[in-house]
Structure formats: structure tokens, C-alpha cells
Symmetry: C2
Subunit: 144 residues, 2 copies
């Protein structure tokens, strides 16, 4: 009678991708959350500020594909915790100028290697060719 055609979730790309991504990100996050009371958004903001000092909140949001409210909140907490400094831009007083503080760098220098190691563990399961293909696929599929 009715031909319902359920999805085969186990072969459904968006679903599989979402599980994999959550697993990987979650595994890393758990480690630094315990040690530093650092949310994923906060860590992402810190990583961006490490790489692009003097960014404004908007730039952090753009580079991290996060929304500006999330960034605003993450930055307030980071500033409150003394991990990020917030100044006002000289030429545009709406804009903030964000940077890691020494305390922020100290955390960064623990978490970044940890994240890198975790990535190596994941990537280590792939052949060089698979990795290359995967990066190519990400380039193709990713927005921007």
C-alpha cells in the first residue's frame, strides 16, 4: 500500500558527519573543559586571537563561523577571567581590540598542543591519500 521509504540513516551523509564531528570536537573539549573551565566557544575565540591578535569581536565571529552574540558572551567571560584583554579601537570607538593576556597565552600553550595531538590521533587513522582527499572535499563543500 503505502511506500514510505524511510531514510537509511546509517548511510545518510549529514547524519554521519554530524556524529563524527560531535565526537571529535567533544573529545577535545572534554579535556580542556575539565582543566580550565573553558567552553568550546571560548577556546575557539582564544585560538583565533592567538593567530590573529588585535581582532575585533566581529572578526573573531567571522573567522570562527560563530555568531556575534556567542562571541560577545565568550569574550566577556574571558575578559572577566583575565584571559583576554579588551581595548577600544583608536579610530572607531565601537570596535574592540582583543588580545590574549599572559594568563591567556599560558592556557593557550597548554591547550593548543593538546588539540594538535588529538588531531594527530584522528588523522593518524587515515592514509595520506585519504587525508588529502578529505581536505579537498572540505574545500569543495565548505561555504566561503
Amino acid at each position: 500500500m503505502h511506500d514510505h521509504e524511510p531514510l537509511q540513516l546509517e548511510h545518510f551523509l549529514p547524519y554521519r558527519l554530524s556524529i563524527l564531528s560531535n565526537t571529535i570536537s567533544g573529545d577535545i573539549a572534554r579535556e580542556y573543559q575539565q582543566q580550565f573551565f573553558l567552553s568550546m566557544t571560548e577556546w575557539r575565540a582564544m585560538a583565533i586571537l592567538a593567530r590573529f591578535p588585535d581582532s575585533s569581536a566581529r572578526e573573531v565571529a567571522e573567522r570562527g563561523a560563530m555568531d556575534k552574540v556567542a562571541v560577545s558572551r565568550a569574550v566577556s567571560r574571558l575578559v572577566g577571567a583575565g584571559r583576554v584583554s579588551r581595548d577600544t579601537h583608536d579610530d572607531d570607538r565601537r570596535r574592540s581590540v582583543l588580545n590574549l593576556t599572559p594568563a591567556g597565552w599560558k592556557i593557550h600553550d597548554v591547550v593548543a598542543p593538546l588539540a594538535r595531538q588529538h588531531e594527530r590521533d584522528v588523522v593518524g587513522k587515515l592514509t595520506d591519500e585519504e587525508l588529502a582527499t578529505l581536505m579537498g572535499i572540505l574545500d569543495k563543500l565548505s561555504p566561503v
Copy 2:
């Protein structure tokens, strides 16, 4: 002096994967959320029940890699909306026996093709070889 070695987020796999996955899942979700007031978790539960009728909440959680609280809430809403029926298992009265109702199937039969089409759009950007490699990678990296 200090050698801080910031992460290169733009080449950092967990980060790129997370952006891609959120983009893809978010795009699909936006469509059915508007039309049916259906959260991603609810839709996922429905898709699982379509494919595995008579599942218990725990089975839904397991198959969907969701946590049991999320499932419990999604199922209550679905039952409340008349989209899923909940009975008690004959041999184990702790266990629920869940199924799509006719109203649930009706929604399923709209959303499933929509999801499939969206996947085709995404997958269409890849060559056959890339897709095969990607699925292989997902098999390798995925838990279970």
C-alpha cells in the same frame, strides 16, 4: 622569545568538520523547522522510528547517537503532537514501544524526500571517487 605556535584553524580538521557539519545539518533543519515546528532531535527520532518501528526510547537514543534525556523530551513532544504513539512493552513495563502515527507518517513522507534531496545537492558537488573515499573515511573514523 616565546614560541606560541597558534593553531592554524583553517587547516584544523575538527574545526573544519564542525563548521561543515553544522552548515549542512542546519540547512536541512531550517526547512522542516519552519514547516512543521520540528526540531532536529525530533526529526531524527522520527526517521529512526520510520526505519525501526516498535523501538524503545533507549533504542532510538542508541541508533541516533543521542542522549536518552534528549530522546525522552523529543518523544514527549512528538507524542503530545500526535505524531508518535507510545505504548508499554508487554514483557517489560519499563520499556516503551514507539511508532509513528498516521500524522507522523504524513510528515515523514514530506520531510524524508526533502532531506534526501538536500543530501543529493551536497553529494552532487563531489565526484564518485571522492564520495566513496569520504564514506570509507567515515567508516574508519566513526565510533562503534
